[in-house]
């Protein structure tokens, strides 16, 4: 069962990568990430988020933290859409600079 799902997931991701790739760079990157399912994706640095130096760059780590939070819904079913894009917030310029 898991093997079938994993195979389907890889195929779906490969399709997405092909669309973004003009010259194949992104497709190759995605394929590399998929060949090591438990490893962080290439170029995906871990984000320190909880004050304890805990990296939260992968799906499972993020899921654990987000599960305990009451995330606001966006009035749209996830997966289908697309939803309306968000507004810009001026403070994000400083927030991005802090990550440098």
């Amino acid at each position: 069962m898991e093997a079938n799902r994993d195979k389907a997931r890889r195929k779906g991701l490969r399709m997405a990568a092909q669309l973004a790739a003009i010259g194949g760079f992104v497709a190759a990157s995605a394929a590399a990430g998929l060949s090591q399912a438990d490893e962080p994706a290439p170029g995906a640095a871990a984000a320190e988020v909880d004050g304890r130096g805990r990296p939260l760059a992968n799906a499972e780590d993020m899921a654990e933290v987000l599960k305990v939070r009451d995330m606001p819904t966006l009035g749209c079913v996830p997966k289908w859409g697309p939803p309306a894009p968000p507004e810009m917030r001026p403070e994000l310029v400083d927030r991005l600079a802090e990550v440098a």
Binding site: R5, K7, A8, R9, G12, L13, M15, A16, A17, L19, A20, A21, I22, F25, V26, S29, A30, G33, A41, P42, G43, A44, A45, A47, V49, D50, G51, L56, A57, A59, M62, A63, L66, K67, V68, R69, M71, P72, T73, L74, G75, C76, V77, P78, K79, W80, G81, P82, P83, A84, P85, P86, M88, R89, L92, V93, R95, L96, V99, A100
Partner: protein, 260 residues
Amino acid sequence: MTTLDLRREAKKHPLVLDGLDRIPDEERAVALDNWRDRMASEYASARVFAALVPQLMRAGVSHGQIAKVADMIGQEMNHGILCARVVMALGGDPEASFPELRDVPTHDDVAPVEAVLRNVISVGCCSETVAVALVGTEREQAGAPALREVLDRILSDEAKHARFGWRLVAELAPTLDPKAKERLGAYLVAAFEHQISFHAPFLRWPSVSDRAISIGAVDGPLNWQIFVDTIQTVTIPGLERYGLPAQRAWQAAVASVCVS
């Protein structure tokens, strides 16, 4: 709350899904709920593409690109009707409340090219690129041939929408000066926070059987994994190629939404 009623449209071309008698009622009900919600969301997203048209005109984008986006309005509505046909095939009524119809921001604080890039990145390079990965996965697991055909049609359109986004970024991002690229990077923090919020409901949804997936039920953990994989291995490196600080923006977004 406004209701979307696509009964008349669905009845014009009824869909028959083979093998439904082998699916337990509770699993069929889970899939039915998903297709009904999806019907309304797909249909409602037509307004997002409609709002992009005047923005693209202001940005001086070519007629060919604008005409493609105008076509996408109808494609999203057709997806709603395709979903309505599946709802009927599963024994339900294709009638649902619209999701909240939020306005598409015009981003008047920046020049038209930068403004439209904000929305196109959010829609094409994030939402629709993730949708291709999700629907592509779903299509692989679909059981009945008629359902595969529905998903093929949706997937084909979502691929066009994502490709449009990436092509426009390839065309316009190199024209931005370094300050504009940094501002766009800051916007990416909002875009990624929005993506995480949008997909976070997957975390509350359980895992389901292969049988349920084969008729369109959503497996929460699988879909969450696909979302994160796509953003990290496709969207981020794709945007970084054009000098946009997508990796830093993702880190800032993750830090923002995950701090407990």
